[in-house]
Amino acid sequence: MSIYRWQLGNTLSVLHRATGAALALGLAALSYWLSALAGGRESYDAAVSSFGSPFGLLLLIGWTFAFAYHLLNGVRHLFWDAGLGFERRQRHVSGWFAVLGAFILTLCVWGLVWHGARP
């Protein structure tokens, strides 16, 4: 592994797999949330308070970024599968678009959440 130089292409590829693995754990959290919702008010409130704890919020914000990046970079992969966007410049532009887009989407989502949470 150490013979490879870290550059944009392979870093983003590793990040795609890492965010995918993180989102797999998010699926377990989604399952817990849905089961708590079906279980009734008490179990739902317990789930909300664990997701609302500092550690829970950290996980949720992390999953938001992981989802946004995996979505944008996944679209990039789908374009490649169609044979498009392979030029060096296109790869760099779309790669940075996925990273910056993921940060911006994460900020937008949590901006909306905090905006909505205010009375």
């Binding site: 989604l30 279980g39 989802f67």
Partner: protein, 129 residues
């Protein structure tokens, strides 16, 4: 000189016996997940609050319940395909690889099954108390 039989060359499946099925399933589920995940995030963000009554009433609507079931199914399938590749890449030894792949498959069935069961309980159960 190739040692492969003419039939083997025509079928073109190599030693793994199936070549493109996994690749295609990963892409098809990815395409399905684009609208489903965007719908789920936007719908939750559009709710006035995320308290028990609001969320439960929202998910109890037939369209939302159906889309949520489809979302969980596509997510679990796509995620299973992806994590299985990670195990195939990094877990070595036939026994350990088989063990982790089986465990992974059971976990996905349990989590997706319980998620879908929860959505159906809300869809067909009594309204929020």
């Amino acid at each position: 000189m190739s040692l492969r039989s003419p039939l083997g060359r025509v079928l073109g499946t190599g030693s793994a016996k199936d070549g493109t099925a996994h690749w295609w399933a990963q892409r098809v589920s990815a395409v399905a997940l684009i609208p489903l995940t965007v719908w789920f995030c936007c719908a939750l963000l559009a709710l006035p609050a995320l308290d028990y009554g609001t969320v439960r009433d929202w998910l109890a609507l037939p369209t939302n319940g159906l889309l949520a079931v489809l979302l969980v199914a596509a997510l679990a399938y796509h995620s299973y395909l992806g994590t299985a590749v990670i195990i195939e890449d990094y877990v070595h030894g036939t026994g350990m690889k088989l063990f982790w792949l089986l465990l992974l498959r059971f976990l996905y069935v349990v989590f997706s099954g319980s998620s879908i069961f929860a959505i159906l309980r809300i869809a067909f159960g009594p309204g929020s108390p």
